[in-house]
Symmetry: C2
Subunit: 244 residues, 2 copies
Amino acid sequence: MTYCLAIALNKGLVFASDSRTNAGVDYVATYSKMKSFVFPDNRTIVLLTSGSLATSQAVINAIKRDLTNPNAEFDISKGNYLHEVAQYIGDLSQQEQKRHADAMEKTRSNNESSFLLGGQIKGQKGKIFLIYPQGNYISASDETPYLQIGENKYGKPILDRIITPSTSLEDAARCAIVSLDSTIRSNISVGPPIELAIHRADQIEEPYHNVLTTNSNMYRSVQKQWNEGLKRAFDNLPRFDWEK
Amino acid sequence: MTYCLAIALNKGLVFASDSRTNAGVDYVATYSKMKSFVFPDNRTIVLLTSGSLATSQAVINAIKRDLTNPNAEFDISKGNYLHEVAQYIGDLSQQEQKRHADAMEKTRSNNESSFLLGGQIKGQKGKIFLIYPQGNYISASDETPYLQIGENKYGKPILDRIITPSTSLEDAARCAIVSLDSTIRSNISVGPPIELAIHRADQIEEPYHNVLTTNSNMYRSVQKQWNEGLKRAFDNLPRFDWEK
């Protein structure tokens, strides 16, 4: 499994992903699930992947292929709106899944992938999209300004408590680390390092990018301080009548 | 859906359940999912249910039927070990599911139920079991002294951080309320009131039982103080380099 998260804020976009992939329990590996594409003075795009690693990689390869093919009908540097890029990635994903559909059915395997797409086209607002395995997609709303793919439940409560569109990029990034770390603690199929990217609104450039290994100072001190803070919060909860 | 939780501690057992049931989104109702049975000087038993309400109710009815039938082969007041009671409830659940299996298959419906069984037979240690829809069951371990049924993921991280066998009954009960409340906030299929039961080790009597409605003081102040504590914990997280 996987856990990836994208947050759309007034001040920009925050992305986070874990790095564990597994085919069964005896083939566990570490892969980056985050890819960014920058077209200076035009658009910044970040793509997060979950599901079949083969499909995810094939889609990334097809994106790169189309970018270098002058005869390609479309590529991610084109389209006036980011949802056109979402549609294009959904189409690539469906094409790749269909290519192997017969073999998948015969072996009762699954090669579905989901994607989180985020970015900003110059002059427009930054946007995030969740692209389903079926190729259709949704964008986030002001009421729920984040989207998740993969093991999304463990890390959802903290997002629901903290994130609003006016949250700062840094707070949202900290919340993303906590959301990822809670998931990593509770589900063995999600693992470090945590990749983090921050796109500041209207800065069409390579996003801030950081790989938080379990040895990194930031990750360790978030873990330690969050754990201590939770324990303190827990110790302050009200007593039952008979404890007073 | 549902979320039920049982925790086995050195000092006793803690149980919690939500109260929402739904058949589709247009038939949502409030039902208790917690039932206790006390046989003075012999055993205390608490049963939590999730899944098909029809199957859950039929199993409870069968338990009561067998208790009043002097010719019943087995009932929950019998058996030298609590796992025999778990096996019996698993059998009742399978019988009930099989009775309707053809009709269920024809309408592609599902009448599976899962159960959490906990209790203590006098002179033995208190125990908790998770009974699967297939009728088989597992008990908790010292490393993971809790069991969950239903929407178990949202509320798991806080249990993983707080609960050990030496946690006090009151702390475990507070942790259960937080775990339930986090799930209620993040998943509309889980809803209040929260039912809470506490069985003190070696006290073979009616467990402490409380129904925490959204208006109850205990529930409201746990919600408020937990929310404030989390916000404080969050505000104390380390800053990124550029924030310093």
